[in-house]
Symmetry: C2
Subunit: 190 residues, 2 copies
DNA sequence: CTTTTAACTGAATAATTATTCATTTATCTT
DNA sequence: AAGATAAATGAATAATTATTCAGTTAAAAG
């Protein structure tokens, strides 16, 4: 018996992400994905029951991926600004290194594939980040705005900056990153 | 002879925007658009040669729309912060009132419908905004960062905040708007 | 080395969606 | 009021895309 090559799942995911980044969710077909990944259309159906399952599973994987990255090296007992900086930089690094996942998630949010429940569940994964923000407010280090505002303000600006740099092939240096951080920080600090 | 009802174009556009907001670009069909707009599928083809033409024309219209809104009431001779505030508030108002256009443009950018040239041409429309930012830098009122950074930082955060409020049906009060402005301003000011 | 099993293939089929077109309807012209 | 013309309709057709499946190949077991 020939065993399933689980590595193929990763190849299918990679092909899908690349295509979605290039063409958008509306521009991809199952045969395009198979061709890009380097095998026959039917093979994709060995690993996924249908297109929807592929999209949903990849979406879940992307969400897992970022929640994992965001909090690596995060020490909740560190001073607020240090902890904030750690997570902020994790977010930025993830956005840069997994740019195609970023785009994919964004496209999925406005698609028939992702349900409202899934959308909401996604937010709950950011709990440690939320707790950190609340702490910053309590310590009067940042503005007394709703957690969501802070979160969206920070992430929104970051996402558009990364998009711009990626599309224009601008290298994101460390100085660049720190400057970006400074803008965010100055925006939210009390 | 029965004349073309040019009002139908607006209805087709409105139906398309609503559907894209709800389902994403990948989730819409010509018959869905026609049904939503309230007439037969074939009618859409009297006003647009095909789906692509519809999408591209609507995209152009949306771009026109926002460049028009952004600079209404803008007085280049006003003090920098006043002028900046005017445009910023115009952007915010436009994002709120034309939320579906915002989503549509975003979706189009990652789709096979919009060409790279169109993507680039879109940016050129923001010239007055660019000039204002450069002036702010010259007057040492804002940080000496590249124009694009400032622009993207400001718009990215705003967009995600408006998305959040829209999806969660939060009313955006004037205090809310000014608070949001404050975050942006503090982020970029020197 | 043979058998067995399941992956893999890609052409065939099914399902969906875009587009057309014969027919009907509404408006304008005379 | 009748004729002319083009819009409007929606079922029919064409095109595209998802999904299946009969045949082929490759790995594992004995």
């Amino acid at each position: 018996m020939k065993p399933k090559d689980e590595g193929k799942i990763a190849e299918i995911y990679a092909a899908t992400l690349t295509l979605v980044k290039e063409q958008g969710l509306s521009g991809i077909t199952m045969s395009m994905i198979a061709r890009k990944a380097g095998f026959a259309t039917g093979t994709v159906y060995i690993y996924f029951a249908n297109k929807e399952e592929l999209i949903v599973k990849l979406f879940d994987k992307c969400i897992d991926d970022y929640t994992q990255h965001y909090f690596t090296g995060y020490d909740p007992s560190a001073p607020f600004k240090v902890a904030f900086h750690t997570i902020w930089m994790n977010m930025l690094r993830h956005s840069i290194e997994r740019f195609d996942e970023l785009v994919f998630i964004e496209q999925c949010f406005h698609s028939p594939f992702i349900s409202d429940e899934t959308r909401k569940a996604t937010k709950d994964r950011m709990l440690p980040w939320r707790e950190l923000i609340e702490r910053g407010k309590k310590e009067k280090l940042i503005k007394q705005f709703d957690y969501s505002w802070i979160m969206l303000f920070v992430r929104g600006g970051m996402r558009d900056l990364v998009k711009h740099c990626t599309y224009n092939q601008l290298k994101i240096t460390n100085e660049f990153k720190e400057a970006m951080f400074e803008m965010c920080w100055d925006g939210i600090k009390d």
